[in-house]
């Protein structure tokens, strides 16, 4: 059956990118403002799922030739290793630190090691959400 999804397709092209951009903003803001890896990851996953719904599995698999399952262990590994990293500096597990650096265009920015942990969470959440939803969607 051919469905008319013109509105969905047109708006998705626009909305998906707004969602992706906002999710990355949320992720970057996360370590000391509202946001964070979990919520950012969920939003990124939502944007990708929206695109999957609009353009179909086959098209999207060509656009993003990425095995989302692999994101889960990578994310978990990053998150755990940032915790273990504090062993090297003889600090208690999960200790974190931050510093201010001057970046060329962006100006002064705060760099925190909590960010790395958040990155792990971000990747894990994207991986898990997409794996679960796509595994049901795949099933016919």
């Amino acid at each position: 059956m051919k469905t008319n999804d013109l509105i969905l397709r047109t708006t998705t092209a626009l909305i998906a990118f707004i969602l992706l951009a906002f999710s990355i903003y949320l992720f970057l803001a996360g370590h000391n403002a509202p946001g964070g890896g979990f919520i950012g990851g969920l939003m990124t996953a939502a944007a990708i799922i929206l695109m999957y719904m609009t353009y179909g599995l086959d098209t999207m698999n060509k656009v993003i030739p990425l095995n989302f399952k692999l994101l889960v262990p990578i994310g978990l590994l990053i998150a755990t290793l940032t915790g273990v990293g504090s062993f090297v500096f003889d600090q208690p597990f999960l200790s974190q630190t931050y510093t201010y650096v001057h970046l060329p265009i962006l100006g002064d920015a705060e760099l925190a090691t909590a960010m790395l942990f958040d990155l792990g969470v971000y990747l894990t959440v994207i991986g898990i959400t997409l794996t679960i939803i796509l595994s049901i969607a795949d099933d016919n």
């Binding site: 979990f38 898990i128 959400t129 679960i132 595994s135 049901i136 099933d139």
Partner: protein, 112 residues
């Protein structure tokens, strides 16, 4: 405010338990989701509700919100997100394989 929120958490629990006792699998999953919402709301309420106060503790700041319940809720939300999504997949697979989503028929018999 706390009382209203507690009542709301109670309603969420009650509806959750009601759904949990249904036969249809999807209703049961929704029931667990409602119960977890109730629990999260309850933690928030138990940490005392305040509006317009930041969750920080600095000298001189008199009005602040307790950050601990928020941290607990976030953790708990993440966990219930994981469990609920897993439960959905499990329920879906169990329903397709057993060819029914009625808990009454999923009871199983003694001689297996």
């Amino acid at each position: 405010m706390e009382i209203i929120m507690s009542v709301l958490a109670g309603i969420l629990f009650a509806t959750g338990v009601y759904n949990l006792l249904q036969k249809q699998l999807l209703r049961i999953v929704i029931g667990t989701a409602l119960i977890s919402h109730g629990a999260h709301l309850f933690i928030l309420t138990m940490g005392k509700l305040k509006t317009g106060a930041p969750p920080i503790l600095v000298k001189g700041v008199e009005q602040y919100t307790d950050p601990l319940p928020q941290a607990l809720i976030l953790t708990s939300i993440v966990i219930s997100f994981g469990v609920t999504s897993l439960l959905l997949v499990l329920a879906y697979r169990a329903a397709t394989l057993n060819k029914t989503d009625n808990m009454e028929e999923l009871r199983g018999s003694e001689d297996e």
